[in-house]
């Protein structure tokens, strides 16, 4: 068991996500920065679908009631055990009775804390991920509160004496104040007028303070839509279309005033034009960005996006093999 002394700003249980229910309106949820989350699980020897804790800006203070291994990845943060600093992106032993505390972050937004065995909340529809909008998954479908007690599953890792292993610098995420974020064209991108289509990838956009697991609002430029008679069933705003399914990572621009990127807890369909989709690999990067950081969108092909996703999978697999080889 782990006792939550301080929950942090918004700390939730997440795994890789809840799949198979998108068509009936359930977004996948799951870790916003899937890469960091996966690396944390790999470090402690957990299965890939083990549940971790995801923090937001201010992480929790947790008391451990049994020995185990932990790994913290993601944002750059000050982390201590009983007041002594520990390193991120590595395997750390924690003993019964010790207190893990997150201090301030200096880059990024979200930390991932994996614990050997994984967090043992009850799976809902095949996933332990917290989806607060529907109050399901995680701890009672909500962010952690003081006094919560988290069950930790039995450690499946046979080698309990994993040596210290640090993720090399080039395999860590490094959140920066500006990133190029790659997109593929959206189903409705033809509804943007030519100048706005060009503007979308020529100018930088700023991450606003309205950015969470549901969506990221990005400001800076007014986008214009082509003039047309709105089809039957579509709303009256030029950014409206007849309802359609939204991909995760979809970029939309209600009334053209700002962009909204749909994140992992977002609505799964609706009546706004889907202008572009942030590729899955770069959603991880966007998930570590905050106000007033900036992005420049770059259009790539679907083939290139799938190639990048496959490469990320290979990178994670090579990490598993690397750790197995040295520990």
């Amino acid at each position: 068991m782990i006792t939550v002394i301080q929950p942090g700003l918004y700390t939730t249980v997440q795994d890789r996500g809840r799949f198979g229910f998108y068509g009936v309106g359930f977004p996948p949820s799951g870790s916003m920065d899937l890469y960091s989350s996966a690396v944390a699980n790999i470090l402690v020897g957990n299965p890939a679908n083990a549940a971790v804790l995801e923090t937001t800006f201010v992480g929790p203070t947790l008391e451990f009631e049994r020995n185990g291994r932990i790994a913290v990845t993601g944002a750059t943060a000050d982390i201590t055990i009983d007041g002594v600093s520990i390193q991120p992106w590595t395997i750390v032993e924690i003993k019964k009775g010790q207190v893990l505390a997150f201090g301030g972050i200096s880059a990024g937004v979200r930390n991932y804390l994996a614990i050997s065995g994984g967090i043992g909340v009850q799976p809902v529809m095949g996933s332990r991920s917290t989806y607060v909008a529907s109050n399901l998954g995680g701890v009672e479908g909500r962010a952690l509160l003081p006094g919560d007690r988290l069950e930790v599953l039995a450690d499946s890792e046979s080698r309990t004496n994993r040596n210290r292993f640090e993720i090399p610098e080039y395999l860590r995420v490094s959140p920066m104040p500006h990133h190029v974020i790659r997109i593929v064209p959206g189903l409705c991108n033809y509804l943007l007028d030519p100048q706005s289509q060009q503007l979308l990838t020529a100018e930088t956009f700023t991450v606003s303070t309205e950015a969470n697991r549901t969506g990221y609002r990005l400001t800076g430029h007014q986008l214009s839509f082509i003039e047309r008679e709105q089809p039957f069933g579509a709303g009256s705003d030029p950014s409206n279309v007849v309802n359609l399914g939204y991909p995760v990572g979809s970029l939309q621009a209600p009334s053209g005033t700002e962009l909204i990127c749909l994140m992992r807890d977002a609505v799964t369909g609706g009546g706004y034009a889907t202008l572009a989709t942030v590729i899955s690999v770069d959603l991880d990067i966007l998930a570590q960005m905050k106000f007033p950081e900036t992005v420049l969108f770059e259009t790539i092909s679907m083939e290139a996006a799938l190639q990048l996703r496959a490469e990320r999978g290979k990178r994670l697999q090579s990490l598993v093999e690397l750790i197995d080889a040295v520990t």
Binding site: L9, T56, F57, V58, I105, T209, F291
Partner: protein
């Protein structure tokens, strides 16, 4: 020697000196506070974070107004500790 401790906003958000509109401020300038005293709130996306003092001492100054947008790392208060 008195020492000035600066308290910074932990994330970008809105700075509040009151727990609710119309209620008394959580702390006042010149007030002497203990470690862990909640001096203000910072809010982002309806998530409220209690800003606590890591030191005991006297609040010399608030560096932001109630309702101001603050950047991450922006100094929001100064506390003079007696040590």
């Amino acid at each position: 020697m008195p020492e000035i401790h600066e308290i910074a906003a932990p994330f970008p958000g809105v700075f509040y000196r009151r727990a609710a509109p119309g209620s008394a401020p959580l702390a006042e300038p010149e007030q002497v506070i203990a470690v862990g005293h909640v001096i203000a709130l910072v809010e982002v996306m309806k998530m409220f974070h209690e800003v606590q003092s890591a030191v005991a001492g006297r609040i010399t100054e608030f560096c932001a107004e109630d309702g101001d947008a603050v950047a991450m790392g922006q100094i929001i208060a100064k506390i003079e500790s007696q040590s």
